[in-house]
Every structure is written in structure tokens, then in C-alpha cells.
Symmetry: C2
Subunit: 166 residues, 2 copies
Amino acid sequence: MSETIRCKPIGTVHSGFTEIASTPVQGAFAPQATGEIEILPELAGGLKDLESFTHIIVLYHFDRSSGYELVSQPMLQDTAHGIFSMRHFKRPNAIGFSILKLETVEGNTLKVSGVDILDGTPVIDIKPYIPMFDSIPQASNGWVKAPHMQDIKNETSRRASGSELD
Amino acid sequence: MSETIRCKPIGTVHSGFTEIASTPVQGAFAPQATGEIEILPELAGGLKDLESFTHIIVLYHFDRSSGYELVSQPMLQDTAHGIFSMRHFKRPNAIGFSILKLETVEGNTLKVSGVDILDGTPVIDIKPYIPMFDSIPQASNGWVKAPHMQDIKNETSRRASGSELD
């Protein structure tokens, strides 16, 4: 239970986002934000047939985050929530999760869109997004209500279009 | 790029599945398979408001897996695929991903269903499943075709109902 789990990066994200404050909050709202995932050449064989999927699950290391807060106020919210009920990066294990649209696979390079990940981020895993397993439209959005979603959408559009946060 | 990413378990899965060969292949097809996730007491504060969600994303360590195969033949399939286009556990980083139905949160214990995880599995992270971000019904199922899906469904039902693989 207390053992440490060790992961080695399998690749790196290349995106236009170099600052947390200007990175899209949610890729779902930033379809125009494109980028690449470069997989280590020695692991490229593992990409076989990935291009048959339109979307991929990407796990990555929030490498510019340190420490965590069990309860905090998410951006654009006035109520504090537990870290396990948020996607925020200040987590006990700094692992991020994004669903990206897969445009093409060329050699060891994936071209992706809907990118909400900082440039240079180490990638831990790629899995296919399989809607028969993963799409649950009837699931509840929990504390994430429509007005908050609209705020995220607006903020994401602003960031993805390249304008700076003040 | 070559740095090691270290994770510490945040909790443990308790399920009725002690053998890989009798664990449901996909929780989506095993709604009757219930279990619990026990979070470390010192992290229980991070669960605040999680119960407002009906579904959760669970990341965990495939702790009984070792090594990986870049290309292999998934169960019930006659064609080999790349590991990044499969959910198989023999991955470069042995991290599993499941979407579970969240039934209740009591103290540091989550009651969940749709469980496809071995008993005693170390949990790395819990994130809310937010359909506005995560449900993409129009995504392609890639190489996972309807007959294969039916095979997974049948096999999962058989395992979840407690019968043994021969």
C-alpha cells in the first residue's frame, strides 16, 4: 500500500502553450488548439492501429506543479471543492488526463487537436477512447453547473485564441 | 524526458476479483459488479463534493503485471494491435483507467459498481467523470468492432457472474 509506483515518460507533448495561465482549461472547448505528441522512437511500434480511433486518452505528468491541496477553490468558482472532485493539477499524484482528437499518426508523431496541455509535458500513457465503454451521456455533471461550464468555455476560447490572462 | 515520475497510492480497491482471468474485461458491461475504494484517511478531505457525480474516473496501478509487449493479440481477437491502441495491462507504464459508477461516499470509502479491477489494486487518482467534457458518442470505436464488443460483453457477463474461465 505504501510502495512507490515508478513511471517513465513514453513521450512529450508539443503545444503552443508555455504558461499555465494561458493554457486552455478544457480541450473539449478548444478544438482549434492543435499540437503533437512525440513518442520515444523505441516505443513507436506500440502505436500500431491507433489511427483507427478518432479520439485518444492521454495521461501525463503535471511536471510544473508541486504539492497539493485537498480542498481548494477551482478557477472561476466561488465554492471550494475536494481535489478528487476536480481536474485541478495540485493533486496528491500529479497525473493529468485529457481526451484529445487524433488527427494523424506519422511514424512516432501524433498530430492532435483539442489540446489543453503545456508544451514539453511528459506523457505517461496513451489509450484509445472507445465510446462504447467511455461515453456516458447520462452521467451527472455534479457540482459543475451550466454557468460554470460557460465560464470555462469562454475562458478556454480566450486562451486558445492566444490572448493573455491579465 | 528521462526522469522518473513517482506516485504513491492514495487508496486501495476492494473487489470480489482475485484472479485476472475471472475479472470483468470491461466494467461498462458489468454493472452488477460492486466493490469499494478505500482512500487513505489522511486524504479523505479531498473527497468533498465527489458524491455530486454519478461516475468517476479511477487511475490505478496494474500491480500484478510485469513487463510489456508493444504489439500483441488482445483477448478474444485474432489480430495483433499496438499496446497504445488497447487497454491491456502489459503497458510501458502499468497504469489502468476505469470509469466506475459511484454509488455512495461514506467517510473515506466509496461504494462503486461496474468494477473491473482486481482486489487489492493500489489507486493512484480519482477524478470526476464530467460528461460535458468526457462523453463523445460520435467518436470512432476504431478496430474494436461490434462482434468483438459482443465477445467482450459475453465474457464480462460470464466473469462478473462468478463463473470461472477454463
